[in-house]
C-alpha cells in the first residue's frame, strides 16, 4: 500500500489490550434476536423505544384534540385525559429518551468510538435489552387491564396515585410501578456495561481525553442514571407495597368518600423527595448524551475542532455532580423551609454556569468554521437555539419567587418540553441522520429530511411559544377543560385550537421521517466509507457498516484526539484518529486501516 519509511515514532509495541473472547453466534436466532452483539442490541433498543414513543405521540394528539376542541370528542372523558397525560410523560421521558440515548446510541457508539470489539459483558447486555422489552410490555399491558393505565400524572404523587378516585388505580398503577422497577433492573445491567467498557476496553492510545464528547456525555449520563435510578426503584417498591399490602410508607391517615381508610402514618412528601432525587438527574441523563452528540455533529459538519474540549468534558462532569443537589426545586409548592428554597434556588442557578459555558463553546466552534448545512447540522444548530430558549425559562422557574405563581401552569409545560423534550429529540434526529449511513450503509433521503427538519423545528416553536403565553395568563396544566374562567380571555381558546392544529401536523411529519428510515434502507443513496469525512474512530472500521467484532484482525491504535479537522499541512481537512503521524500528509491518509501501524512495514 503506502511506501513510507517507518520512523522511530511508529515503532509501536504490540497492543497490550487483551483480546476479548467474543461470543460468536451459530444460528439466526442468536445473531438477530438473542444477540450479544452491542450493535444489534442497540438497534433492538432503538426500534423498541421508537415504537413505544409512537404510542406516546398518539396520546399527545388525543390530549391536544381535547385541549383545542373541548366538548367535541365524545370518546375522551376526564379520566382518559389524565391517563393520556400520565402515559405520554412517562413513556417519553423514560421508555423513549432514556432508552434511546443510553440503550440505543450508547450500545452502538461506545464500543466503536473507544475502539473496542464489544461491550465488556455481552451476555448481561443482552439481558438488559430483554428486561427493558419486558418493562415496555408490562407498561403496554396496563392499557388493557380493567380501569386502564394509571392517570396519576407522570410524577405519580401519592396519596392520589393509589386512591380509587384516580383512573387506573385498580391494575394500572401496579403495572406502572412494576414496569418502572423492571426498567431500572434492566438499565442497571446495561449501565454497568457502558461504564466499565469506557473505563476498561478502550483501544491503545485512546486516553480519557481523546474520547469523543459523545462518549463522555453517555458515560456521565450513565453514571448519573446508576446513582439516581435506585431512588425511583425504592419509591416504586414502597408505593407498590402501600397499594397491595396496605403498608403506610406514603399513605397518611385519610378519609375517602366519607370513609376512613386503613392507612395511617405515611409521608407523601417522602415520595416527592425520592421521586425528584431521581427526577432531576433524569433531566441530565437525557441532556448529557445530547450535549455530547451535538458537540460531535457540530465539529464534523463545521470541519473544525470542538472549541474548549477540556472545558466541555469538565462541564459535563460538573453538571452531572450538581444535578444531585437541585432536586427540591421541583417541590417549591410542596411546602418547605424558606432556607431550603434559597439553597435549591442557588444551586439551580449555579448549574447555569457550566451549561452556558457549553453553549458558548458550541457557538465558538461554528465561528469561522466551514459550515455545511447538512441535515444533521441543521438539527444540531436547532438544538442550540431550542436549548437556550428552554434553559432561560429554566432560570425563571429556578427562582422560588417566580416559580410559585407559575407553578402548575402551561408555562412549566412549555419550559420542560423545550428543554428536555424538543431539544434532545432534535439531537436524536440529527444523530440518526448522521449515523444512519454507518449503520445501514445508505444515506437518508435529503429532501424528506429537509421537510422533516423545517416542519419539526418551526412547528415545535409554533406549539410551545404560545404555551408560554398561556401559562402567563394563568392557564393551568393537567386540566381536562377550562370551563368559564374570569381571568382567561376567550382568545386563549383560539390559541389552543391553533396549537392543536400545528401539533397534528408536526406529529404527522414524524411519519414522513419513519418512511424515510424504511425507504432509504433499500433505496437510499449508497454511503460508501465515511461519507461525512469524520475523524472519530467509529467511521474507520475495516468493514462498513462495521461487522461482528468491529475491527477485523487487529484492534486500532489511536494517535490523536477525534477533532483533527482542518489541520494545517495535512493532506485532507481531517485526520482520522488511527492514522500514524508520518502519514498525515500522505494522499491515502483517510484510508488507513485500523491496526495498520502495528504491522511491520514493507
Amino acid at each position: 500500500m503506502a511506501s513510507f519509511a517507518p520512523t522511530k515514532a511508529e515503532q509501536v509495541p504490540p497492543a497490550e489490550v487483551g483480546e476479548m473472547d467474543l461470543y460468536h453466534s451459530h444460528s439466526w436466532w442468536t445473531t438477530y434476536v438473542f444477540s450479544q452483539d452491542a450493535k444489534v442490541i442497540a438497534i433492538q433498543y432503538s426500534l423498541t423505544a421508537i415504537s413505544i414513543g409512537l404510542v406516546a405521540l398518539v396520546l399527545s394528539w388525543l390530549m391536544r384534540l381535547q385541549l383545542g376542541f373541548p366538548d367535541t370528542f365524545s370518546f375522551i372523558d376526564a379520566g382518559e385525559y389524565y391517563q393520556y397525560i400520565t402515559m405520554h410523560g412517562m413513556i417519553m421521558v423514560i421508555y423513549l429518551l432514556t432508552a434511546l440515548f443510553l440503550g440505543g446510541f450508547g450500545n452502538y457508539l461506545i464500543p466503536l468510538m473507544v475502539g473496542a470489539r464489544d461491550m465488556v459483558f455481552p451476555y448481561v447486555n443482552m439481558l438488559s435489552y430483554w428486561i427493558y422489552l419486558l418493562a415496555v410490555l408490562v407498561l403496554v399491558a396496563s392499557f388493557f387491564v380493567p380501569g386502564g393505565p394509571t392517570g396519576a400524572g407522570w410524577t405519580l404523587y401519592p396519596p392520589q396515585a393509589i386512591l380509587s378516585g384516580t383512573p387506573g388505580s385498580d391494575g394500572g398503577i401496579i403495572l406502572m410501578l412494576v414496569s418502572l422497577a423492571l426498567f431500572i433492573v434492566g438499565f442497571t445491567m446495561g449501565g454497568l456495561n457502558y461504564v466499565v467498557t469506557v473505563l476498561q476496553a478502550r483501544a491503545r492510545g485512546m486516553t480519557l481525553m481523546r474520547m469523543p464528547l459523545t462518549v463522555w456525555g453517555i458515560f456521565m449520563a450513565t453514571v448519573l442514571a446508576l446513582l439516581a435510578f435506585p431512588a425511583l426503584f425504592v419509591g416504586a417498591i414502597m408505593m407498590t407495597l402501600d397499594r397491595i399490602l396496605g403498608t403506610s410508607f406514603f399513605m397518611p391517615a385519610i378519609v375517602e368518600m366519607g370513609e376512613q381508610l386503613a392507612y395511617g402514618g405515611g409521608s407523601p412528601i417522602l415520595f416527592q423527595h425520592l421521586f425528584w432525587f431521581f427526577g432531576h438527574p433524569e433531566v441530565y441523563i437525557v441532556a448529557l448524551p445530547a450535549f455530547g452528540i451535538v458537540s460531535d455533529l457540530l465539529s464534523v459538519h463545521a470541519r473544525r475542532n470542538i472549541f474548549g474540549y477540556r472545558m466541555m468534558v469538565w462541564a459535563i462532569v460538573v453538571i452531572g455532580a450538581l444535578s444531585f443537589v437541585v432536586w427540591a426545586h421541583h417541590m417549591y409548592v410542596s411546602g418547605m423551609h424558606p432556607y431550603f428554597g434559597f439553597f435549591f434556588a442557588t444551586t439551580t442557578l449555579i448549574i447555569a454556569v457550566p451549561t452556558a459555558l457549553k453553549v458558548y463553546n458550541w457557538t465558538l466552534t461554528l465561528w469561522r468554521g466551514n459550515i455545511h448545512l447538512t441535515i444533521p447540522m441543521l438539527f444540531a444548530i436547532a438544538f442550540i437555539i431550542t436549548f437556550v430558549n428552554g434553559g432561560i425559562t429554566g432560570l425563571f422557574l429556578g427562582n422560588a419567587v417566580v416559580d410559585i405563581p407559575l407553578s402548575d401552569t402551561m408555562f412549566v409545560v412549555a419550559h420542560f418540553h423545550m428543554v428536555m423534550g424538543v431539544a434532545p429529540i432534535l439531537v436524536i434526529f440529527g444523530a440518526i441522520y448522521h449515523w444512519y449511513p454507518l449503520i445501514t450503509g445508505r444515506m437518508l433521503n435529503e429532501t424528506l429530511g429537509w421537510i422533516h427538519f423545517w416542519v419539526t423545528f418551526l412547528g415545535a416553536y409554533a406549539i410551545f411559544l404560545p404555551l408560554h403565553y398561556l401559562g402567563f395568563l394563568g392557564v393551568p396544566r393537567r386540566y381536562f377543560e377550562m370551563g368559564e374562567t374570569g381571568f382567561i380571555p376567550p382568545s386563549a381558546a383560539t390559541l389552543n385550537e391553533f396549537v392543536t392544529v400545528i401539533a397534528l401536523i408536526v406529529g404527522a411529519t414524524q411519519v414522513l421521517f419513519l418512511f424515510n428510515l424504511a425507504w432509504s434502507l433499500s433505496k437510499g443513496k449508497l454511503a460508501g466509507r465515511n461519507p461525512w469525512r469524520a475523524a472519530s474512530l467509529e467511521w474507520q472500521t475495516p468493514e462498513s457498516p462495521p461487522g461482528h467484532g468491529n475491527w477485523g484482525p487487529a484492534l486500532p491504535l489511536v494517535y490523536r484526539w477525534p477533532y483533527a479537522y482542518s489541520v494545517p499541512g495535512a493532506a485532507e481537512d481531517f485526520i482520522p484518529q488511527n492514522v500514524p503521524p508520518s502519514r498525515e500528509t500522505g494522499n491515502e491518509s483517510h484510508e488507513a486501516l485500523p491496526g495498520a501501524a502495528a504491522q511491520p512495514a514493507e
Binding site: K8, A9, E10, V12, P13, E16, V17, V120, F121, T188, L192, N193, V196, L199, Q200, A201, R202, A203, R204, G205, M206, T207, L208, M209, R210, L226, L227, P230, A231, F233, V234, I237, M238, L241, L245, G246, T247, S248, F249, A262, Y263, G265, G266, S267, L270, H273, L274, F277, N305, Y309, R310, V313, W314, V558, Y559, R560, W561, Y563, P580, P581
Partner: protein, 219 residues
C-alpha cells in the same frame, strides 16, 4: 498516569517529531469483572443509603412508633458473619491452590448464607406474631422492605455462588476458580457490611439511629 493527570491532558497539543504517547488503556488497575462488581456495589450502596435516609427522615415525625425487635436477628447476624468468614477461608485457599479447602469453604459459606435467609424468614414470622404488629406502622413496613431487599441481594449472590461452587466440584483448577471465588468473597463481605450497618442502625435496639442523628446535631 493518575486519574487527575488523565483528565488534565491537552489532547489538541501534538509536538511534531516526538514519540506518540500510546499509553495503557485502563483508568483503573482492576480486572474488568472486578471493576464491574465494584460499580454494582456502588449502586447497591446508594440503594441502601437512600433507605436509611428515608427511614431517618420518617423517624423525625412526631407520630413515629418504633418497631418491636425480633431477637432472632442476633442469631442471623452471627450466621452471616460465619458465612463471610467461610468465604474468606475459601479465598485464602484458592490463592494457595488448596482445592479441597476451597470446596469446603464455599460449601460452608453457602450453608450459612441459606441459614441466614431461613432465619430472616423466621424473624419475619416472629414479628408477624407479635402483639405490636401493625402493617400501617412505617417502622414495621421499613423492616420488611429493607430486610427483603437485603435478602434479594443475597439470593443474587447465591446464584453466583452456585456457579462458582459447581465449577469447584467439577474439578476446575485454581486459576479458573480464582476469579469467581474472589468476586463472591467481595460481594459477601459487602453484604455483611451492609447488614451490620442496617442491623446496627435500625434493627438492633430502639433508636440507635436517633443517637447517631443526635450526635450529628440533626435531632
Amino acid at each position: 498516569m493518575t486519574l487527575f493527570q488523565q483528565l488534565t491532558e491537552k489532547p489538541w497539543v501534538t509536538v511534531p517529531g516526538t514519540v506518540v504517547d500510546l499509553h495503557n488503556r485502563r483508568a483503573f488497575l482492576l480486572p474488568t469483572a472486578a471493576l464491574g462488581l465494584r460499580m454494582f456495589l456502588v449502586v447497591a450502596t446508594v440503594l441502601f443509603l437512600l433507605l436509611i435516609v428515608a427511614y431517618a427522615s420518617r423517624m423525625e415525625f412526631e407520630d413515629w412508633r418504633p418497631s418491636p425487635q425480633p431477637w432472632l436477628l442476633w442469631l442471623n447476624t452471627g450466621m452471616l458473619v460465619l458465612s463471610s468468614v467461610a468465604m474468606q477461608w475459601a479465598r485464602i485457599a484458592v490463592r494457595r491452590g488448596e482445592l479441597k479447602a476451597v470446596s469446603m469453604g464455599l460449601m460452608a459459606a453457602g450453608v450459612f448464607a441459606v441459614g441466614f435467609l431461613g432465619g430472616q424468614v423466621a424473624a419475619w414470622r416472629q414479628l408477624n406474631m407479635m402483639v405490636a404488629f401493625d402493617v400501617t406502622n412505617p417502622a414495621i413496613g421499613f423492616f420488611y422492605l429493607i430486610t427483603a431487599l437485603h435478602a434479594v441481594h443475597l439470593l443474587g449472590g447465591l446464584a453466583a455462588w452456585g456457579w462458582t461452587a459447581a465449577k469447584a466440584w467439577r474439578g476446575f483448577d485454581g486459576i479458573q476458580l480464582r476469579s469467581g471465588v474472589e468476586l463472591c468473597t467481595v460481594y459477601w463481605h459487602f453484604l455483611l457490611l451492609v447488614w451490620l450497618v442496617l442491623f446496627g442502625l435500625l434493627f438492633s435496639g430502639n433508636d440507635n439511629l436517633g443517637i447517631l442523628l443526635a450526635i450529628c446535631g440533626i435531632r
